[in-house]
Symmetry: C2
Subunit: 219 residues, 2 copies
C-alpha cells in the first residue's frame, strides 16, 4: 500500500515536472536561448568545463544557472569572471527540477539569444531522470574515475546528447581503458559524440564549441 | 497538497527504514559482525579501497554486499579474489536502503564474526540519508575531485565515522588544497579521522586497518 501511494505521488511529480519543463523550453526558445543541462558526478569538473566553453565563445551571450545542495562557491567564481550567474541551493535534494528552474530563470529582456548553462547537482544518477527545460543534456565524465561508468550508470549515458571526457591530462597516471569505455557508451547510445578535453591544460575545447554552435542552429 | 502527501509518504518510508536498520544491526552484532557502510561518488574507488583493506586483514572473515544500479562488474572482480560477495542491483534507485540489505545478508551460520563491507551506490548525496544496519559509515573521497567537496556535500562528511582520501598518487598532477579540504571537514565534523591512501600505489592502508580493528573492539 505504501509503495502504491509512493508510486502515484512520484508519477504526479514527474508529470508536473515535464509540463513545466516544456513551458521553460518554449520560453527559452522564444527568446533565442539554447539551454544545456550539464550533468556529472561530484568533482568531475562541471564548472571548469562551463568556464572553458564560455571563455572561448566570443560574443554569444551566456548565462549560468548553478545548482548546488549547499554553498555558492562556483557562483562566486563565475561572477568573478564576469559571467551572469544565478544560484539555486536545493538544501538536500539530489537533483534540479523544472519548478526550481522556472523560478530562477534570468529576465531575458533586451537579449538577442545566447546560451544558458544549467549546472545540475553533482550526481550521476537522479538528475538524468528530470527534464528541466533544456535543449540538450551534456554529460561530463573523467578519465580519473574509471572506464566502467557507462555499464554502472547507464541512464545518464543513454540520455546524453554530448559527452565530455574531462581530465585527459591525467590519462598517463590512471588506468583508463578507452576502448572499454567507448564500447559501453555505444551499447547505450549509438550517436552521441564523445569529446576528450583537459580543463586544466585547456585542450580539446574548439571541437566542443563547434559542435554546440552547430547543434544550436539545427534546433 | 501534493507536497504534504509526499512528505508523509517519505516520513513513513524513513521510519520503516530506521526500524529495519536497527534490526539488521542487532542481527550483525549478535553474530559478532562489524558492518561498514562504504559511501562515495561514482568512480571514487570504493571497491578498490574495500579490496585493499581485505587483502591486508589477515584471518578476519570478510563479506561484501555490493550495491550497484546495474551491472555486477565489482562483484565478479571481488569473487575472483575469493571474497564472498552478494550483489544488489537497485535498477535506478540512487541509494541502498535497509529492506534491501535485510533480504541480502549472508547466512552467518558457523561464522565467528568478522567484517561486512556494504558498498553503497556511487552517489555523494542520497546514501548518506539512509541507515542500513551499519556500525560505521566510511566515506571515500579523492584528491582528483577537488578540495571543495565538504562545502558542497556537507551531509556525507557530517555523518562519516572515517574518511578515506584516495588517489593520493595523483596529488602532484591535480590542484588539491589539503588545508581547505580539512577545514571544510572540521567545520562539520570535529573528530572523524582522515586517512590518505593510494589504492593504485597501495600506500596508507596500515593505519586504516588499525583504526577499523580498534573501532570494532570498542563498539
Amino acid at each position: 500500500m505504501e509503495d502504491t501511494k509512493r508510486i502515484i505521488v512520484m508519477e504526479n511529480i514527474m508529470d508536473e515536472n515535464d509540463r513545466i519543463s516544456i513551458m521553460i523550453n518554449e520560453k527559452l526558445s522564444s527568446h533565442g536561448f539554447f539551454a544545456i543541462n550539464v550533468l556529472g558526478a561530484p568533482g568531475i569538473g562541471k564548472t571548469s568545463v562551463i568556464k572553458s566553453i564560455i571563455s572561448r565563445i566570443g560574443d554569444t551571450k551566456c548565462y549560468v544557472v548553478e545548482g548546488d545542495i549547499e554553498s555558492d562557491i562556483d557562483t562566486v567564481a563565475l561572477k568573478n569572471l564576469g559571467i551572469e550567474t544565478v544560484q539555486i541551493n536545493t538544501h538536500g535534494s539530489c537533483h534540479l527540477d523544472a519548478p526550481s528552474i522556472l523560478s530562477s530563470l534570468p529576465d531575458f529582456k533586451g537579449d538577442n539569444g545566447g546560451l544558458v548553462f544549467i549546472e545540475n547537482i553533482g550526481n550521476l544518477v537522479c538528475p538524468a531522470e528530470f527534464n528541466i527545460g533544456e535543449h540538450i543534456k551534456m554529460l561530463i565524465v573523467s578519465v580519473a574515475d574509471g572506464s566502467d561508468k557507462p555499464y554502472k550508470y547507464p541512464l545518464a549515458f543513454e540520455k546524453a546528447d554530448i559527452i565530455i571526457l574531462n581530465k585527459c591530462d591525467l590519462q598517463p597516471y590512471v588506468d583508463f581503458d578507452e576502448e572499454y569505455f567507448t564500447s559501453g557508451v555505444r551499447a547505450l547510445n549509438k550517436i552521441t559524440p564523445i569529446f576528450k578535453v583537459s580543463s586544466r591544460g585547456q585542450t580539446g575545447y574548439e571541437e566542443v564549441i563547434t559542435w554546440i554552435m552547430n547543434r544550436r542552429h539545427i534546433l
